[in-house]
Amino acid sequence: MGAQVHGTQNFDKAKRSGIKFSEEAMNTVQKIMTNYPEGKSKSALLPVLHIAQAEFGGWLSAETMDYVASVLKIKPIEVFEVASFYTMYNLKPVGKCVLEVCQTSSCWLNGAEDIVKYIEKKLNIKVGETTKDGMFTLKTAECLGSCGTAPMLQCGASYHEKLTYEKVDKLLEDYKTAGKQRNYTDLDYKNTL
């Protein structure tokens, strides 16, 4: 993990690594920081980590986390302990599109396992792996609140529900054609039933 330094030292390190929010992202971050009373801007950490992940390649490197710490004026360890607790933050590089297939009860009852196997075969990767072209990472997820429209998978902000093999074919094709990195923060989410 990142060095146990904070304050200006930490900011210098982040600066050296060349990581910096785009102007647009920085504006959003600063707006989020005003959502809380004076002195409570640490509360912005979770939403800001989502923005950082979207900005810096879909995952949180030690440098990215140090940078976030410097922006929120907190210690790097405070960022790391949060980033490592929640499942939505990737601490290792991932593909442009992370496919998260729900595998809990209702989805399992409706064939989630078959969907996972199908994607594994189709992309020639196992759960947890990324395709050679860096396009897709396959993951399993725990209940995503789509039980009535199972089976489902999430990719970035989009929910793909009532999956069939044909639908999986199509969504993989669409994502590949677009070739974009998909983030939870995307505004162009699509929810397909």
């Binding site: 640490k42 989502h50 009860s105 009852l109 609140g145």
Partner: protein, 445 residues
Amino acid sequence: MGRKLLIHNDKVPGINTLEVYRAHGGYASVEKALKTMTPDQVTDEVKKSGLRGRGGAGFPTGLKWSFLAKPEGVPRYLVCNADESEPGTFKDRYLMEKIPHALIEGMITASYALGAKRSYIYIRGEYFYVARILETAIAEAYAAGLLGQNILGTNFSHDCFVQVGGGAYICGEETALLESLEGKRGNPRIKPPFPAVAGLWGCPTVVNNVETIAAVCPIVNMGGEEYAKIGVGKSTGTKLISASGHLNKPGVYEIELGITVEEFIYSEEYCGGIRNGKKLKAVVAGGSSVPILPTELILKTAKGEPRLMTYESLSDGGFQTGTMLGSGGFIAMDEDTSIVKNLFTFARFYHHESCGQCSPCREGTGWMEKILKKFINGTANESDVDLLWDIQSKIEGKTICPLGEAAAWPVAAAIRHFKHEFIEIAKSKKFVDISHYDRLNKVIA
């Protein structure tokens, strides 16, 4: 047709916009409360309504509100728990996605009753797109003078914010949610103090579920007594039920508390029966953590009375022969379902979601998953059933938060009612997944 108070307008085109929502009577409760009632009068109506927490615990909402400490000069907060993560539950998502203003309206009215100048909607990170919908609704409300300074020309000012989580079931526990909202790991706090005294940033806080807050609107509009006339006994009003599994018509239904379970499963108005003409085998009635019940016990109580969709009737018989209404996550399983395999998905879930603070939960959930995995691999022995029982009994009541119980109860209930399935696998040393994936199989063919 049962009465609907929360999602009666869900099919109206444009109901997600302020304009259409208001044209259908939206924000009437804000007008009524702010202009004609005192905050205490609003709380009284909620008390009279008998409304109980819709997130799962079923604690009386009015009573929870009355516990809120009100020291001079200290801000108070209302926090909406939109961290809907209990497997089988998707009602809050539906409500927020379709009618976001129903929640915003409730946030304003409830905040007025509690004297909260700020409120937060903590929504699970996976629902990021729903957070966008809420943010749009909030911006509309600000533009219309329903949020911000001097709402509708009254003295009441209020700001409402949406906060996204990072993906953690435990943040549905209210003190873990507050920790997360403060930008920390979602580790539940030791209680007391309760959030009503020391909650968000140490200030008095009320944490309520999405559906609970939305229900405040019809209660204020119609009056608590009128609301309490719907339902049976202490189960008043309407409840959103998320129906999933092997049903003909899965989805979110608003029911009047008190209809029979049989009507809910089989009537055309609701789930329309079990799909593919199969027989019902078992039901998890209130989200993954409540005890699973076999058909005969979910349709009728041990006394032979019809089981009703109420807090009391579902828990009739205790855990020996009953279950709980919980969050209303209703998962139905047909005759071909392996109860052991379904339980394995629950155990894997709880192991994944344990925050790791308390040893019985952190270690116990892992053990249970591991042992159940042996059943799935066909390598379990008969004694493993006893071991599983032993482990679950050593988690319950020994943890800071109820995740321990939530993990233990489904294991206990599956063994209690379906022990023969475990024994059969252990004896034959073979697990055959008999569950069918009809719809998917058709696609293969």
